[in-house]
């Protein structure tokens, strides 16, 4: 404990220099935090993806969508517990580049059990949606973006035509939904019945089917069974569990890990170089002071530890500030990468990295300072 004031005064001997080193460490670790957060965000998304929810889409996109009656066939397949479906409407609000996706569902109980961890509806919102055919539930982000409130009537343009040939769809905002990971500020939920009755083409069809299997371990077999049932019909299907789909997505962005590792590597090398030079410089300037300490009775080990402690304090403080910064900008970065998160492991790795950098950059100068021959140093030789 008696060393603390000494370490403290050592750190602030040149406040400008220390401030700059702190800042540099903070910036480097902020970048580390953001990149690592992206990686763990993607990994977590895969780990969290439900293995028991199957996604059933047409095997051919751009071909005819699946008929609504497929639901009944699906229910008869062994291993399938619950089934549900979704369709959608891509529209624009006011400007042609302000896209809003309306997920069209049957607001019954089956959809609610599908992915409660992704989308949740308060019961009264759901009740309101059931009562109003043209009703929509919006996310709070979407409401903020365009200034929509419950009770508002919203006209939306879409390439999907209504029976009268018009592409304008009108919705009534009746409530809110909580969306944890999906579209954030461009998602709303509408009644499938409104969509299907009003549209000109593809009546009685749905875009996707969902099935929950009774045992996630049988997901692969049930998927294959579903595709077999629909094979050679005019509506072949492609079935995969959510887990499998997110693994496919992972493979698509497979280069991500390599890129992140390279960047983090470059950042840490540059940082290590910088801190090491600064430590060297500091020790060189303070040779006489260390000689005085040793004259006063400080051991070699004491001097060594004092210097390493200084580096440790500066680096870990900088790293913590940087990681906090990264955490602070996550809500903004989430627009680009869904599910960004910083679990404790990232903070732990970050702090461990900071400790490594501190020790690596301090150990040589500290060793040199500890071995200073007192008489020579005081004489200025």
């Amino acid at each position: 404990m008696k060393y603390l004031p000494l370490v403290w005064s050592g750190i602030w001997r040149k406040p400008g220099r220390t401030a700059l080193v702190l800042l540099q460490v903070a910036v480097a670790f902020a970048l580390f935090g953001v990149l690592q957060g992206m990686k763990t965000g993607v990994d977590n998304a895969v780990a969290k993806a439900r293995a028991d929810v199957l996604f059933i889409g047409p095997a051919v996109f751009g071909g005819a969508p699946l008929p609504h009656s497929s639901l009944d066939r699906l229910r008869t397949i062994p291993g399938v517990k619950t089934v549900s479906f979704a369709d959608g409407l891509l529209g624009t609000y006011q400007k042609p580049n302000q896209f809003v996706f309306a997920l069209a569902i049957d607001p019954g109980d089956e959809w609610m059990t599908l992915v409660p961890e992704l989308v949740t509806f308060p019961p009264h919102s759901l009740e309101a949606l059931r009562k109003t055919r043209t009703g929509v539930l919006i996310t709070t982000d979407l409401g903020k973006k365009y200034g929509w409130h419950v009770g508002d009537r919203i006209p939306m343009n879409s390439a999907l035509k209504q029976k009268d040939g018009s592409g304008t769809w009108t919705f009534d905002v009746v409530g809110y939904l909580t969306d944890r990971e999906l579209g954030q500020d461009n998602l709303m939920v509408m009644n499938y019945s409104y969509l299907d009755e009003a549209r000109l083409l593809n009546k009685g069809t749905v875009r996707n089917l969902y099935a929950i299997v009774d045992d996630p371990r049988h997901a692969a077999e049930v998927s294959a069974a579903i595709d077999r049932v629909f094979a050679n019909s005019s509506n072949e299907t492609q079935t995969a569990s959510f887990r499998e789909l997110s693994q496919q997505q992972m493979r698509q962005i497979g280069d991500l890990n390599f890129a992140i590792r390279s960047i983090v590597g470059a950042v840490l090398v540059a940082l290590l170089f910088s801190t090491a030079t600064m430590m060297m410089q500091t020790i060189r300037e303070r040779t006489a002071e260390f000689a005085v300490l040793k004259t006063l009775g400080f051991t070699d080990r004491g001097v060594f530890l004092t210097i390493v402690a200084e580096a440790l304090c500066v680096c870990t403080a900088g790293a913590l500030v940087g990681l906090a910064l990264a955490w602070g900008i996550f809500p903004y970065a989430a627009k680009f990468v869904a599910g960004l998160s910083m679990p404790l492991i990232v903070i732990a790795i970050g702090v461990a990295g900071a400790v490594c950098i501190a020790v690596l950059s301090a150990v040589v100068p500290a060793f040199r300072a500890a071995r200073i021959p007192v008489a020579d140093a005081l004489a200025g030789r």
């Binding site: 400008g16 220099r17 700059l20 080193v21 800042l23 540099q24 910036v27 480097a28 902020a30 970048l31 990149l35 095997a59 051919v60 996109f61 751009g62 071909g63 005819a64 042609p96 390439a159 592409g167 050679n232 019909s233 005019s234 072949e236 492609q238 995969a240 693994q247 496919q248 493979r251 698509q252 962005i253 497979g254 280069d255 991500l256 890129a259 390279s262 960047i263 470059a266 950042v267 090398v269 540059a270 940082l271 170089f273 910088s274 090491a276 030079t277 600064m278 060297m280 410089q281 300037e285 680009f336």
Partner: protein, 389 residues
């Protein structure tokens, strides 16, 4: 002494001192090298993606979409407007005197990856007669073109490398029937994504589709585009819009390029900030180490301005080699590397203009990093610095 003479003398002194301050100087160079290297390597993705997207674009090709469609998938062109479209002005004619227009419909089917067995979507495009006239860059490497009315497909060589069952003679099962691969081809300067063509009418009927997506046509000259689009605007019953091929390619590529460039500049800026701070700190240390020297110079009549200029120049002179090394490293390690982020596929391209951009960033890093240390150098209190031991 004249200020410029003072400046050259000062610069020579600081450069002569480099060997004595190797550690501090390396910090500046390594910092800039890492920042510029990462920036250039990441921007090379955006350049590569754009090059891939624009590689086969010709100024004398255009695409017609339905008037309200934002992209080809949303577009639909009824079969009965096909004859009207063929009569539009500005369209080039082939050796037989027929207008070079092909109507296309695209569906997405899934194929199995050769490497990991995973499923990835690929487009199957049904095209009406005249594909060879419209796409002269389509070069068959084996087999022949598909025949109208038959379940035959031709696949680009990218497909055969990436997925299973795309070689000539192999069969693919789609929509309750077997489709025979009869040809493999290369597409001009880029290989792009896996591309598969078949006969339009066969594909439309097999996939239950009533309409084409788009009409692709060859113009008499790039300037004939105006004539064509005026004719389309003059006839509102057509409900069409005309776009140049370049515009379509740009639009296709815009989202990917936007993401890649945003990430590149985001990461690059943060690294540049770190490099700037590191450079500033090193230059402060260098200036502090030269206090007596600089104070002596002030005492014998050197001005503040040349001192500021010399420290700034030193900072830039040290930053520039870092940029050169960074750009070279990026080129050596990443140029031509196959990347496939976000489902796209292209080769990274480190171009001279990217290297120049890197030099520009280094210049800015050097200037900003050197500014405060330079001002301190010019403001060293002469008497105090000379008296200090």
């Amino acid at each position: 002494m004249h200020p410029t003479k003072q400046f050259t003398a000062l610069l020579r002194m600081s450069l002569a001192g480099i060997p004595a301050r190797l550690g501090l100087i390396c910090t500046i160079i390594v910092g800039v090298t890492c920042a510029v290297g990462v920036l250039v390597a990441m921007l090379a993705m955006g350049v590569g993606a754009r090059r891939e997207a624009m590689g086969n674009v010709r100024a004398d090709r255009a695409t017609l979409l339905s008037a309200d469609a934002a992209n080809p998938q949303q577009s639909s062109i009824a079969k009965d407007t096909a004859s009207l479209i063929r009569e539009l002005p500005g369209i080039r004619r082939n050796a037989h005197g027929d207008p070079i227009v092909i109507f296309q419909a695209t569906v997405f089917v899934q194929a199995r990856n050769k490497t990991d067995g995973g499923l990835t979507g690929f487009p199957v495009t049904g095209a009406t007669a005249g594909l060879a006239d419209y796409r002269p860059e389509l070069h068959l490497t084996s087999g022949r073109l598909f025949n109208p009315g038959l379940r035959e497909l031709i696949a680009s060589n990218k497909c055969t490398r990436q997925f299973t069952d795309f070689e000539v003679g192999q069969k693919r099962h789609m929509r309750g029937g077997d489709w025979l691969i009869v040809g493999n081809f290369d597409l001009g300067r880029t290989e792009g994504v896996c591309t598969v063509f078949g006969d339009s009418e066969t594909i439309l009927s097999a996939f239950g589709r009533p309409t084409y997506n788009v009409a692709n046509l060859m113009l008499q000259s790039p300037a004939a585009f105006t004539e064509l689009s005026n004719a389309i605007k003059a006839d509102p019953t057509l409900k069409l819009q005309a776009r140049r091929e370049a515009q379509m390619a740009e639009q296709n590529n815009a989202q990917l390029n936007g993401i890649l460039n945003f990430v590149s500049y985001f990461v690059g800026s943060i690294m540049a900030i770190a490099a700037t701070i590191g450079a500033a700190n090193s230059l402060y240390a260098i200036v502090d180490g030269r206090r007596r020297e600089l104070a002596t110079l002030r005492a014998i009549g050197f001005d503040g301005v040349p001192i500021v200029a010399s420290v700034l120049s030193e900072s830039i002179v040290l930053a520039l080699p870092g940029a050169v090394v960074g750009a070279l490293l990026a080129w050596a390690a990443f140029n031509g590397l196959q990347a496939s982020p976000l489902g796209a596929s292209f080769r990274l391209a480190v171009t001279p203009s990217l290297a120049l951009l890197g030099l520009g960033w280094a210049l800015v890093i050097g200037l900003i990093g050197g500014l405060l240390p330079a001002l301190r150098a010019a403001r060293i209190p002469v008497t105090a610095a000379l008296r200090a031991t």
